[in-house]
Amino acid sequence: MKGFFKKYRGMMPVFFLMLLSPALMATLQKTKDAYGLTHEIDTGKKVYQERCLICHGVEGNGKGPVDVVRRAEKTGRIIEIYSRDFTVGVFKFRSTPTGCLPTDDDILGTIADGIERSFMPSHKEVLSSEEREAVKEYIKAFSFRWEEEDPCDAITVKKPEGVDSPAFAEKGKMVYKEMKCWECHGYQGVGDGPKADDLKDDWGKQIRPFDFTTGALKRGSSPENVYITFTTGLDGTGMPAYEDSPSEEDRWHLVAYTLKLMKLKGRAE
């Protein structure tokens, strides 16, 4: 035996590698390992480096080479857009209540559809569903939050009949007033309310309330998306969750009025 070791001493690293490699490969290829990682992390990293890194950065902190991008709106105001900092684990576009992690489908939805009025493009055509799945896992791994918190259930949205009716929008105008949406979004819905200039996000950056007349809600402008936006709030920003009020009925009135402000009434159904 001693002779064997002596003879093949030079080969020892190779033997070691042979012994270790099944364990290492298993770590990478098992569907879920001890840390909840999947082999997709590998593909995810590749996709991230090719598609996401330029804005979201090597460390996922939103400080990629692009840094801040600016866009002008038709009212002349300039919006500064910073890429999402994945290390914090907070996401605006969720189907879950305020303070909850997004669902996997929420993240996949943003990757696939992109974000309106920002520079986040759609990846439906450029990435396969496997690649989108993989990069989602890679993005999740930037934050401790998935390890620390339990997931929440998604809110179910059931659109009633009549959301595109003038009666709904008329009632919604009252809800807009009562819920004091105008404090930030303004009396005409152009994002110039009394509080509009004082808003900062959780990264300390100035943010602007939505100008409804741009006609494009960031997460998509369907009635369901309008409903879920004010119901869940946009975590990390000044937009709070209206989860306690108004009533379910009035929520849809508010959706109707919002769509009217966005001049999307005809497209509501």
Partner: protein, 264 residues
């Protein structure tokens, strides 16, 4: 051997560091004959409590603006910050005293924390909450307030805990406490409003009284790291040993002030 190291290193680099995080565990046990830490927090310099100036912007009706002015402005020009509540003997009120490395001890009480939006400030300014108990968020003002909880992370960044709209007077929302840590509370509609909540998995947290005194009881014997946190002072961290049935005295002195975010 070198090859293995290189390979292992390469593999480990593929996985972001966050993936290795684990949940912090706290073990609740029966504590008999526990020890106590008690002491006083002071400041070396006499500091003056600043006044927050409040400028209410025009609204659609002058009544609306007047209502906000009447509700929010409590002294000429604004509000007293109530940040530096320091006694004649330089003792500091509202210091959060927390034990950083406690892994085992008594179970945390089931005690809800009420946060009231009253006259455009949060009451209390500093509070303690326990994971799995409830937050009771109340709006006593006839104005829109939002109560935005953010866990304070390293580097001044916050992680949203929840952000609730309270458009009505006397509206009350109950929320389960799901997140441990030091939490900053703000109202985006009134940027000067702030509160701090220490959300704990264990009962070993205290807030100093007007004389700067605090007491933390029923600790298992051992060495502990105690942190003294205040919004307007640089924090102080101290080590102390606790013996069964004994009282360990621990005083802390702040030597440096700092400017909290709401003062910007």
């Amino acid at each position: 051997m070198k090859k293995i190291l290189v390979f292992t290193l390469a593999v480990s680099l593929l996985i972001p560091a966050a993936a290795f995080a684990k949940r912090v565990k706290y073990e609740a046990v029966e504590v008999t004959n526990g020890g106590t830490i008690s002491g006083k927090v002071s400041t070396t310099e006499k500091v003056k409590d600043p006044v927050i100036s409040i400028n209410v912007k025009a609204k659609e009706t002058s009544e609306d603006a007047e209502l906000e002015r009447k509700t929010c402005i409590t002294i000429p020009g604004g509000q007293q910050a109530m940040m530096y509540l320091v006694s004649g003997a330089n003792e500091v009120k509202n210091v959060l005293v927390t034990i950083e490395n406690v892994k085992k001890g008594k179970a945390a009480p089931q005690k809800d924390l009420e946060i009231n939006n009253y006259r455009c400030r949060f009451e209390p300014l500093v509070g303690i909450s326990y994971v799995k108990s409830k937050y009771i968020i109340k709006n006593s003002d006839p104005l829109l307030h939002n109560t935005n909880f953010g866990k304070m992370l390293k580097g001044g960044v916050k992680r949203a805990v929840f952000n609730l709209a309270l458009p009505y007077k006397d509206q009350v929302i109950k929320k389960k406490n799901r997140v441990a840590g030091l939490i900053h509370v703000k109202c985006d509609a009134h940027p000067w409003m702030r509160a701090y909540v220490y959300s704990s998995r264990h009962p070993y947290v205290a807030i100093t009284d007007a004389k700067g005194n605090f007491e933390i009881k029923d600790l298992l014997p051992g060495k502990y790291t105690v942190k003294f946190w205040h919004e307007g002072f640089e924090e102080v961290v101290k080590e102390i040993e606790v013996n069964g049935g004994g009282v360990s005295k621990l005083n802390a002195t702040f030597t440096k002030t700092r400017k909290p975010a709401f003062m910007d």
